[in-house]
Symmetry: C2
Subunit: 435 residues, 2 copies
């Protein structure tokens, strides 16, 4: 029997390895007893079971509506849902046709916001182009950038989000080396950022929009605003999006999702794009799928129209606020007092840095012993693009309180904290003995 | 006010124009009185309204199931649905773990089969690689190839589908010019092909699989089998897929969809892939969306488990058989007798070629007058990749009986036929006068 010839892959396939967290996901599936503070899944108890059932009943009770929902939609997405998205942005953020030239025509619906991040990147980026992002950042988007063979420049992030002074310095430095023509995208998770849980401060939002405009010397630099967690604030006090500082709808591509605030199983995201970018994205989406699944869009549109969406959002927010408090309490009680961590005002994540004596990387002693104790977290280093200019702190971790129930969050936090304390004590003894 | 700098697009964006039929779609939307025999939409009367309602009620009535359906799924898709797909292939086509090494692990669920065509192309194709396809062919897939800057070689299609002798000759010729290393994909719509309505004959299925294997000298050439219309046969006598001639699951990527036989609004497709290709596709899909919408997959899986899917399929098939007969009858009755057309045994399309004196292209007199009479078709030339080796016949058209109701199908067919007869008479008079 002749040997089977191998497949010759595209360059893109070669540059798309398994994501660094895939083995974490695999481990969690194979060890269901393990407490996963790693998974980015959403809370199961607050999924809109009754609301979805009621919306589908309503859709199916009217033959014309039922048929429309079960027929093909359009690449851009359901008109009624796009109007509702535009209305919400107008009501909540003042982004109106009058002030910002944004209407339902500027809204696109996608298969989660993930697909929109990909589509925007695909229409803008060639190999060796430059994307600037905050570090740490969303690792799935970093995977997209890696597969597209672009250069990534990282900018430090603090409690106020991406450091816009550092961003300005980076842009100036890139300009000085003659590479400004290759800068296409500034990527920023603007609310309760994955993985740090921080939001970009209002002055920095304004500054970021200004910088994109200022450095758009010969071509337009697009700010890719990832607002996936925007609706998950624990209070109503969330700043306006970066998009609100783009009054002519020119520089900022705003992306968000119904996965986190409503249902991940409907996998429906959306964005508001400048018109030329919309045209290019829709052409590309025509090749991808000529429209995301239609029925989920009808369900969400119906839920918004019934007022169910906004009512349910209060339940979701309260749920995450409670779960966050439980994890925060576990950190306060059980983690070494030297631990530096950020208490988020929304979202799904707490970022914690243990004392430097306890590295948390995937090959570390701490990680190994955490696995033994049946608790998982995302090592902080996975959230940093390699060699992009910001080195990961060795002892950081992303802890998610999204999917675990209250008891497991408390238990998982306690196990990690106690392990850290034990290892710290061992390190002290060790260093004492070696002296 | 300074001038707004333009956006610098990626090469892929530049190579992705509006699809040729987008203006047809736009025209149909703006002129709702127009009878569209152009739209590839599915029949609205046979959409599974009751079935979908019942499945959602069942899913939502069980809390654990409801939560699973509204939570994130996986990139590969719902396990129960993948098992059902594998079981159907085993039952209907004899593609089993024993005979073909195919299990649920080899099945992936995607956002329609369109997304899978894209993903497979993305992991295999670099610019200047070669794809061989039948001509005419599915224009949306041709759009993907154009955006990826690959070379396309077309092979003629007749009533038995893609001409495999011509395929062999094409492969030999490519080998002779030293380009065989660039051939990555042979694309074939194997059932009731879009646009001609023909199916690949059983001997040619076998031959196509053999040719891919024979010419896989230094790397594997993948047969991309697009079986989107497989379940829309008007009888139960449909040949086994090309995939059935790939006993070790090595050379053939089989793709299909639930959009046509069940509901386009659920936008759920699937495929069976060789293991290495599965790995690469799943990595890429992780970047695209890390899983298509989950609830639609649960609905389809529930419908299959309840037996509703197979029952509904009979309704769908009978509906298309009836509508096909109506359009066929209109062609027989009203089109010029010299018209060459194919009476399909399944699917959504009739391919017709008028006498050569009546060109049907988008800038033709015939097309203009058809628009005036409020009837739309897809000009045949849109179904041929430019300069790929097979020239489009000047007078062909794709007529779809998918979405129109019986009355409009009959009326649309009659209008087109009468117009063709009138123009033929005018041409005869004209040529008579000019003598």
């Amino acid at each position: 029997m002749s040997e089977l010839p191998g497949i010759r892959w595209s360059r893109r396939a070669v540059r798309t390895p398994d994501p660094p967290i895939s083995w974490l996901m695999k481990h969690a599936i194979e060890h269901p007893d393990c407490i996963s503070l790693a998974a980015g899944f959403v809370d199961s108890d607050t999924l809109p079971v009754e609301v979805t059932g009621a919306c589908v009943r309503q859709i199916m009770s009217e033959p014309a509506t039922a048929r429309a929902a079960l027929q093909y939609g359009t690449s851009q997405g359901l008109g009624s849902l796009r109007r509702q998205i535009a209305e919400r942005l107008a009501r909540l953020d003042g982004i109106t046709p009058g002030s910002h030239r944004v209407t339902a025509d500027d809204v696109v619906v996608t298969t989660g916001s993930q697909q929109l991040l990909l589509l925007i990147s695909e229409v803008l980026l060639d190999p060796d182009d430059i994307v600037i992002l905050g570090a740490p950042s969303y690792f799935v988007y970093m995977g997209i950038l890696q597969s597209m063979q672009v250069r990534v420049r990282a900018v430090p992030t603090d409690a106020d989000g991406m450091d816009t002074d550092a961003l300005a310095a980076t842009l100036r430095q890139i300009e000085a080396t003659g590479d400004l023509d290759r800068v296409k995208i500034i990527y920023c998770v603007s609310y309760f950022q994955n993985p740090m849980g921080v939001s970009l401060s209002l002055p920095r939002r304004r500054r970021l929009a200004e910088l994109a405009q200022e450095f758009s010397r010969r071509h337009r630099i697009v700010v890719l605003e990832d607002a996936a967690y925007k609706e998950l604030g624990f209070t109503d006090e969330v700043p306006s999006p970066i998009k609100s500082f783009d009054p002519r709808n020119e520089f900022v591509a705003f992306t968000s999702t119904f996965c986190k605030p409503f249902s991940a199983g409907l996998k429906t995201g959306y964005g508001v794009l400048p018109p030329e970018l919309m045209t290019a994205v829709l052409r590309q989406k025509g090749n991808h799928d000529f429209g995301s699944a239609n029925l989920p869009q009808w369900i969400i549109s119906t839920a918004i129209a019934r007022g169910d969406f906004d009512r349910h959002l209060q339940v979701v927010r309260a749920g995450y606020a409670r779960k966050k408090s439980i994890l925060a309490e576990a950190i306060r009680t059980h983690f070494p007092p030297q631990t530096r961590w950020i208490d988020p005002a929304g979202g799904l994540y707490i970022w914690a840095e243990l004392p430097a004596a306890i590295p948390t990387g995937p090959h570390s002693e701490f990680f190994r012993r955490a696995l033994e104790r049946q608790v998982l977290y995302v090592p902080g280093e996975h959230c940093f693009f390699p060699a992009a200019g910001v080195e990961p702190p060795p002892s950081a971790m992303r802890l998610s309180y999204g999917v675990c129930d209250d008891t497991h969050i408390a238990e998982g936090g306690q196990r990690l904290g106690r392990l850290a304390c034990e290892m710290l004590a061992e390190a002290k003894v060790g260093s004492g003995l070696s002296r």
